[in-house]
C-alpha cells in the first residue's frame, strides 16, 4: 500500500514542492503537522507528523493509584472528558468485578450523551469555520455553553470533570439539575434545525463537502476507522447498540449511517447523532431510577462525608483508600466505548497491586488520522482542511 510510507523523490522529478502545514495552523485543531508534497494546487503526497502534544500520560498512569488516574483521563481528549472517565472506570470496575447501581449507570449514560453533543458542537462549529461558514460557530458555542454549565453544576468543573469514579459517581446530582437538563433537552432539537438550515441545503457547503475526501467501506475498516468516520462510509456499527455497556441496552436510539463516504456524509452522520443523543438524554432524565450512586464496596468507594465523621470504620476505609489505594485482582481488561470520535478503548493490566501495571488508551483519532493520506492524495490543497475537519481530530488524544 503506497500511502503507508513516503517514497523517495527521483532526481529530475522536481515538479513538486514540499510544503509544511502546521504544527500551528488554525485548521489543524491543535498541533498537527502535515508534510505536503504538492504539484501546483494538487496534493501528490501527504504525511502527518504527530507527537507535538505527547505527555507520556500512559507512563504517568503506571505511577499513580487506580483512583488517581481518573483526573488524568480527562486530559486525554479534552472535548469529551466524561467519555474518557467512563471508559476507564468501566475497565477498572470490570477488573474488580463491581456491580454499579442503576442510577449511577443512567447518570453516566446521560452525561456521556451530553458530552457527545458538546464535542459534536465544537466539531461542527470549527469545521464550518475552517470551510468558511462563520455563523455556525457562534450558534454552536452558544449551546455548548449551556452544556458546560450543566457539567459545572453537577461536577464543579466545566471541562475537566472527573465526575465518574471507580464504583459510581463523585457526588449526588444537585437539586434542580434534572429540571435544567430537561429544559435543555426540550430546547435543543430546534437549535439543531438552525444549524441544519445554515448548512445542509447550502449550495456552497455542498460544493465544499460533497464528493470530497471519499473513503470506501473496505478502506475504512482496514485502516481502523471508527465512529462517524466509519458510519459515514456505510458500515453500520456502533458500540452503544452492538456491544452495549453501562446500561445502553435500556435506551432506544437510531444509528445514523450514510453510504457516500465523503465529508458531507460524515457531517450528516454527526448532525443526526446530535438528535439521537438528545433523545437518549431525554429518556435518561425521564426514566432516572432512584437509589444509590455508588457501589456497595467500602474498600474501593470513598465513604460519604457524613459517615466519615460519625463512623470509625468509614474513617479507616477513607484513610486507607487515600493513603495506600486499593488492590485490584490480577488480570487484564480491554474496555471499549463509543466516544464522539469512535472506538475509545482502555486496556488496563493489573498485577494485583494498588497501581495499574499498564494503562493503554486506544485513541479513535489515531486510527482515523491514518485515513488522511487516502482522503487527500490527488485532490486540491483546500480539500485538506475539509478532510481534517471531517475526521474530527483531537491531538491530545492522538499524542497522549
Amino acid at each position: 500500500m503506497a500511502h503507508l510510507a513516503p517514497t523517495p523523490v527521483e532526481p529530475g522529478q522536481d515538479r513538486t514542492m514540499i510544503l509544511n502545514m502546521g504544527p500551528h495552523h488554525p485548521s489543524t485543531h491543535g498541533v498537527l503537522r502535515l508534510i505536503l508534497e504538492i504539484d501546483g494546487e494538487n496534493i501528490v503526497r501527504i504525511m502527518p507528523d504527530i507527537g507535538y502534544l505527547h505527555t507520556g500520560i500512559e507512563k504517568t498512569c503506571e505511577a499513580k493509584f487506580y483512583q488517581q488516574v481518573v483526573p488524568l483521563t480527562d486530559r486525554i481528549d479534552y472535548l469529551c472528558p466524561l467519555t474518557n472517565n467512563l471508559c476507564y472506570v468501566l475497565a477498572v470496575e470490570k477488573l474488580l468485578g463491581l456491580e454499579i447501581p442503576p442510577k449511577a449507570q443512567w447518570m453516566r449514560v446521560m452525561l456521556n450523551e451530553l458530552t457527545r453533543i458538546n464535542s459534536h458542537l465544537v466539531w461542527l462549529g470549527t469545521h464550518a469555520l475552517d470551510i468558511g461558514a462563520m455563523t455556525v460557530f457562534l450558534y454552536c458555542f452558544r449551546e455548548r455553553e449551556d452544556i458546560l454549565r450543566l457539567f459545572e453544576m453537577v461536577s464543579g468543573q466545566r471541562m475537566m470533570t472527573s465526575y465518574f469514579r471507580i464504583g459510581g459517581l463523585a457526588l449526588e446530582p444537585p437539586l434542580g439539575f434534572f429540571e435544567k437538563v430537561r429544559d435543555f433537552a426540550r430546547r435543543f432539537p430546534s437549535k439543531v434545525d438552525e444549524y441544519e438550515n445554515l448548512l445542509t441545503g447550502n449550495p456552497i457547503w455542498g460544493m465544499r463537502t460533497k464528493g470530497v475526501a471519499r473513503i470506501t467501506a473496505e478502506d475504512a475498516v482496514a485502516l481502523g476507522a471508527s465512529g462517524p468516520t466509519l458510519r459515514g462510509s456505510g458500515v453500520d456499527f456502533d458500540l452503544r447498540r452492538d456491544m452495549p455497556y453501562s446500561g445502553y441496552e435500556n435506551f432506544k436510539f437510531k444509528v445514523p449511517v450514510s453510504q457516500d463516504g465523503d465529508v458531507f456524509a460524515r457531517y450528516i452522520c454527526r448532525v443526526q447523532e446530535l438528535r439521537e443523543s438528545i433523545a437518549i438524554v431525554q429518556q435518561a432524565v425521564e426514566g432516572m431510577p432512584e437509589g444509590a450512586i455508588k457501589a456497595d464496596a467500602p474498600k474501593v468507594v470513598l465513604p460519604d462525608r457524613e459517615k466519615m465523621k460519625t463512623q470509625m470504620e468509614a474513617l479507616i476505609y477513607h484513610f486507607k483508600i487515600i493513603t495506600e489505594g486499593f488492590a485490584v485482582p490480577e488480570g487484564e481488561v480491554y474496555q471499549a466505548v463509543e466516544s464522539p470520535r469512535g472506538e475509545m478503548g482502555y486496556y488496563v493490566v493489573s498485577d494485583g497491586t494498588a497501581k495499574p501495571y499498564r494503562v493503554h488508551m486506544r485513541a479513535a483519532c489515531l486510527a482515523n488520522l491514518q485515513l488522511l493520506p487516502l482522503m487527500c492524495e490527488g485532490r486540491l490543497l483546500a480539500d485538506v482542511v475539509a478532510a481534517i475537519g471531517s475526521i474530527d481530530i483531537v491531538l491530545g488524544e492522538i499524542d497522549r
Binding site: G51, G97, V221, G224, E332, R362, D399
Partner: protein, 165 residues
C-alpha cells in the same frame, strides 16, 4: 463481589470461533488460551502471528476484519519480557478476541501485521517508539510520538518515570 475465576483449559474454550479456528489450523502454535472477565485471550507462538491474523481476518464464518488495538506490555525483569497484544474485533459477528505474543528482551522483534490490516501502521510505530519492539516487514518503522533523535524507549519498565537526568 469480585471477578469469576479465569478458565484456562483449552478443551473448555474450544467453542469460541477464534480458538476453534486456530486449533483446527495448527494447534502447535497455540501456547494457551484464557477466558477471564468475559474476554478471550489466545497466546500464540511468535512466528505464527501474521499467518494467524490472515486466517482470522479471512474466516468466512466469523471474520475478525477489524484490528481495534495493538499494544505492548513490558514484564521486566521477567523473561520473555515483552508481550505484544492484539485486540481483534469482528464487526459482522460482534465478537472480540485478544491475541498475545511473547518476546525476549534481547532484541525483540516479530512480523508486522501492517500488510494484513493497514490500521496497524501507527500502532506498530508507536510500540516501536515507546518499547523498542521491531516489526519485520513494516513499511516505515520510525518513531511516531517521541522526537526522531530520542534515546531509549520510555514505556519500558526500566525507564524512570521522571526520565534520565
Amino acid at each position: 463481589m469480585g471477578p469469576q475465576p479465569a478458565v484456562t483449559d483449552l478443551d473448555q474454550l474450544k467453542g469460541h470461533p477464534a480458538i476453534a479456528k486456530l486449533l483446527a489450523w495448527n494447534s502447535a502454535v497455540v501456547e494457551g488460551a484464557k477466558f477471564d472477565r468475559e474476554e478471550v485471550t489466545v497466546s500464540l507462538e511468535r512466528s505464527a502471528i501474521r499467518d494467524a491474523c490472515v486466517l482470522l481476518r479471512d474466516d468466512p464464518d466469523c471474520p475478525f476484519n477489524y484490528l481495534a488495538d495493538l499494544t505492548c506490555v513490558d514484564w521486566f525483569p521477567a523473561e520473555p519480557r515483552f508481550e505484544v497484544v492484539y485486540h481483534l474485533l469482528s464487526i459482522p459477528k460482534k465478537e472480540r478476541v485478544r491475541l498475545k505474543v511473547r518476546l525476549d528482551g534481547g532484541s525483540p522483534s516479530l512480523d508486522s501485521v501492517t500488510p494484513v490490516w493497514p490500521a496497524a501502521n501507527y500502532f506498530e510505530r508507536e510500540v516501536f517508539d515507546l518499547f523498542g519492539v521491531r516489526f519485520a516487514g513494516h513499511p516505515y518503522l520510525r518513531r511516531l510520538l517521541m522526537p526522531e533523535d530520542w534515546e531509549g524507549h520510555p514505556l519500558r519498565k526500566d525507564y524512570p518515570v521522571e526520565g534520565f537526568r
